[in-house]
């Protein structure tokens, strides 16, 4: 059983499980949208005193923060007990393309060049991670949702605005991947 779980999950099983989470939250009278937590955390930190956007009763969002805490624990359980003993099966074409940009495929989830503690000795790593985070936070609130709120919940409810947002996700993602990233991470 545990060996079965330790394998990477097939895409169709993963997709099914994500919808199970969405339905579970709907059954509990909530909705699946993760990035709202970022707004809630700003509000908890007292941002509501200066900015009206954060002036709301964050305690109504307590359930989502608990979901977030669970997500962190789930990540820990996965790496501690369920991690795949074999290298991630990344497409050979991606491995080759990334090598051209100076990113070495290490068989794990994330590249050492960006996410290892050693990479933090370069100020550029701090700048890339911080600015990437700012773009995600700013963009998800601007668009009113992220992958869970728009691509999963919104598209499931056939919302045209969510489709527009997802198209935006791809415009930005393709621009970054093909035009900007090669200049940002060239060694």
């Amino acid at each position: 059983m545990i060996d079965f779980i330790r394998q990477p999950w097939a895409w169709y099983f993963s997709g099914f499980m994500i919808i199970l989470i969405m339905l579970l939250l709907i059954y509990w009278g909530k909705s699946f949208g993760f990035s709202s937590n970022l707004r809630t955390m700003c509000s908890m930190a007292g941002a509501g005193k200066q900015v009206k956007f954060f002036d709301f009763d964050w305690k109504t969002q307590r359930w989502n923060l608990l979901f977030l805490v669970g997500a962190i624990i789930g990540g820990w359980i996965s790496s501690e007990f369920l991690s795949n003993p074999n290298a991630l099966e990344l497409s050979a074409a991606t491995v080759k393309d990334l090598r051209g940009m100076g990113i070495h495929f290490n068989g794990q989830l994330n590249p050492d060049e960006l996410f290892s503690l050693a990479a933090l000795s370069a100020p550029k790593t701090w700048l890339l991670l911080l600015s990437g985070g700012i773009l995600v936070g700013f963009g998800s609130r601007y668009a009113g949702g992220c992958t869970s709120g728009h691509a999963i919940s919104g598209l499931s409810n056939l919302q045209v605005p969510s489709l527009i947002a997802v198209i935006g996700f791809f415009i930005g993602g393709l621009l970054m991947t093909w035009l900007i990233l090669p200049f940002l991470i060239t060694p």
């Binding site: 997709g15 789930g74 990540g75 773009l135 936070g137 700013f138 198209i167």
Partner: protein, 137 residues
């Protein structure tokens, strides 16, 4: 006791995100380079099943755990905020390989540097709140 179920659902979510490898920077690069079906398969399966599930919930007017009707509010009708906000989000998604959920899953997985990305995301959210009224929506 009511709180625990949300933590458990979050744990399951974290495991799903890890085991599907949707939290992987490499997988997101592979997706934006159209070099594998994997991520499209995950999102595609979820959307197809989600559309069917939401359709059935509406058709049979199903109730939630507290016997309240399940409602699906429509998103605001606009296009500017979705296309501009979405594009900004996409730039960050491809750079960090992480959308908001996976940032926290990665942190738990042991990628402590993801803390910088999370700090950035909070800063970005705050900046949006600060500039909201000056932006086109």
């Amino acid at each position: 006791m009511k709180s625990i179920k949300y933590i458990l659902a979050g744990i399951l979510f974290g495991i799903i995100m890890s085991k599907s490898e949707a939290v992987s920077w490499f997988r997101i690069q592979e997706m934006f380079r159209f070099q594998s079906f994997h991520m499209y398969g995950i999102i595609g399966t979820a959307v197809v099943l989600g559309v069917i599930a939401v359709f059935l919930i509406k058709k049979f007017q199903l109730k939630d755990a507290e016997n309240q009707p399940i409602l699906f509010p429509d998103k605001d009708r606009s296009y500017k905020k979705y296309i501009i906000g979405g594009t900004i989000f996409g730039l960050g998604w491809a750079l960090t390989g992480a959308c908001p959920g996976p940032m926290f899953v990665n942190l738990g997985y042991g990628y402590l540097t993801m803390g910088i990305v999370i700090f950035g995301a909070l800063l970005g959210t705050y900046l949006y709140g600060l500039l909201k009224d000056k932006l086109p929506h």
